[in-house]
């Protein structure tokens, strides 16, 4: 049975990737299963300098969803290269570095330093949790075009994946990413959401707005992936509320070449392994020998 897929020239053992910010730098998950069982792992978003992140509370549960306002806490590029990357490199799997800058220059510096160190770079242009940076790029047409082209030119070895914001028009921005040379796109990042504590009458989060993830957003994410695959030819990685193999299959059938599981990892560290197993079972049950017979097989 073949489960392997190609993201451009990059071969993944199977289409299941853990999403950025939901699997740390692989250290914790590696205590529970052999990381090399995964298609790939995405590192927590990395910035040039270490970031402390937002003050608590950082989490709020909503119906079938999770609002988070982590604020991109991360160890910064230097410690990432020195401490975190060598650890995850011990496992035989592609590593995706998710990067976030406050300016084009910062993105460029991150990309240059990480080029060749990781198999792919996922440009996070869509995080709603920092005031400067992310969101600005994610919804500004020419800024995204400029950023993607510049980073693409810098990269000699690593693949470029652009991660889209659900706050932007997906068709338009997938096209911009493709035209600017991105090797693939991934979507969606969390959807901007909000919660109010009715007893204190305060927003739950200091930043007021936080990012919504989890099963609640799945139908929206799937629609956006559909919009993306109907627009571009480059591989699309589907993300959003994928908890089970059945969820993953919806995205693959719709045309995603691979998927990322995020919030699912919180509920069960073995989620991604269970998703892989479930996809195999589905293929067995339906007499499908190659996952490529599933990808994009939607019958209209």
């Amino acid at each position: 049975m073949n489960l392997s897929v190609m993201i451009g020239p990059l071969k993944l053992r199977n289409p299941v990737i853990t999403a950025s910010g939901t699997s740390g730098y692989g250290e914790e998950l590696s205590q529970y299963f052999d990381l090399s069982l995964l298609g790939a792992i995405t590192m927590k978003g990395i910035s040039l300098k270490p970031m402390e992140g937002n003050p608590p509370p950082r989490l709020w549960e909503t119906p079938c969803g999770l609002l988070n306002s982590i604020g991109l806490q991360n160890v910064g590029l230097e410690r990432f290269l020195r401490e975190k990357l060598p650890f995850v490199r011990r496992f035989a799997l592609p590593v995706i570095a998710n990067i976030l800058g406050n300016s084009l220059d910062e993105y460029m510096e991150l990309a240059e330093s990480l080029d060749g160190e990781v198999e792919a770079i996922e440009l996070n242009i869509s995080c709603p949790n920092v005031k400067k940076g992310g969101i600005f790029f994610g919804t500004d047409r020419s800024a995204v075009a400029e950023l993607v082209s510049a980073v693409k030119k810098t990269l000699k070895k690593s693949l470029l994946i652009t991660k889209l914001s659900p706050q932007a028009d997906i068709k338009e921005f997938s096209k911009i990413a493709e035209d600017s040379g991105s090797d693939a796109i991934s979507l969606i990042n969390t959807i901007a959401g909000m919660a109010v504590d009715i007893e204190t009458r305060r927003p739950v989060f200091k930043n007021i707005i936080a990012g919504l993830s989890g099963p609640a957003i799945k139908p929206i994410a799937l629609r956006m992936v559909w919009e993306a695959v109907s627009t571009v030819k480059i591989p699309v990685i589907g993300i959003g509320g994928i908890m089970t193999a059945e969820d993953a299959l919806e995205f693959l059938i719709t045309g995603a070449t691979a998927i990322e599981a995020g919030t699912a990892n919180f509920i069960d560290p073995l989620s991604s392994i269970k998703i892989i197993d479930g996809i195999k079972q589905y293929m067995n049950r339906n007499g499908i020998s190659d996952i490529r017979q599933i990808i994009g097989s939607i019958r209209l």
Partner: protein, 257 residues
């Protein structure tokens, strides 16, 4: 590799001790790792995606391969948990977190300072310590007498009680109790504390003032319980730390309250 981190268990018992405090006994149906005192499990309160997140509960006791928890109904999740019946199944992940360190040789006396459901985290440690013949003093505070029922299983010689309404023992909080006994604390004493933030920050301060070692068990809202979401952080002298991973047990002087 530790594929036993996520498993199912059958409810052996889920009974009310007071109207809002329950004791839950689970018999794991798959393999799992033995928990240590101070560690916790994440328990699913629903078989659906709503509520989405598992809830953290300290391991109250571990005996004959059965896991015991003590919990209070706080919100929707704990209410759903309290409605579960014997024979139903529930999903768990864990054990997670750092356990209470053992007292070292120089420790002459251990003080356990806690109130309310804080005992859920300390009971297992108390059992360990008494098993090892450690000298123990338990200072316990409850809102009112009937809540002391949760101490019924606890076998300790020296247990000092405070109730806020004075229905039993000392009248006041566990902190009042602590204050009126604290002259007995020796530099070679060791404190284990668990409870509301007010209790912990107070004990932290007293321990630092008196140069006494203390282990404080904290709580924060959690999504994952094992360190990947960065959602459960508290401020410490070395920056944000994850309660689920670097904690839940912290040393005196570590946390910025």
């Amino acid at each position: 590799m530790n594929l036993s981190i996520s498993f199912k268990a059958e409810i052996v018992e889920n009974t009310a001790i007071t109207p809002d405090i329950f004791k839950l006994t689970l018999r794991p149906l798959d393999s799992f790792s033995e928990p240590l005192p101070g560690q916790f499990f994440m328990l699913s309160v629903s078989e659906s995606h709503d509520p989405l997140l598992k809830r953290p509960f300290s391991i109250f006791n571990f005996k004959d391969r059965e896991l015991q928890f003590l919990y209070r109904i706080r919100g929707r999740g704990t209410r759903l948990l309290s409605e579960k019946k014997q024979g139903q199944r529930i999903s768990l992940t864990g054990p997670f977190g750092k356990s209470y360190p053992q007292p070292d040789k120089s420790t002459q006396e251990v003080w356990i300072v806690t109130g309310g459901l804080g005992i859920a985290s300390l009971n297992f440690m108390i059992n360990r310590l008494t098993g090892e013949g450690q000298r123990l003093k338990v200072l316990y505070g409850a809102r009112t007498g009937p809540e002391l029922r949760i101490l019924e299983d606890i076998r300790v010689k020296e247990i000092l009680i405070a109730t806020e309404d004075g229905t039993e023992g000392f009248t006041g909080t566990v902190l009042d109790l602590f204050n009126s006994y604290s002259m007995n604390l020796q530099p070679s004493s060791l404190i284990y504390a668990c409870g509301p933030q007010a209790v912990l920050s107070f004990i932290d301060q007293k321990a630092q003032e008196r140069g006494i070692k203390a282990y404080l068990s904290l709580e924060e809202r959690m999504a994952c319980g094992f360190g990947v979401c960065l959602g459960c952080v508290i401020k410490t002298k070395e920056g944000y730390k994850r309660v689920c991973k670097e904690g839940p047990v912290f040393r005196e002087g570590e946390v910025i309250w």
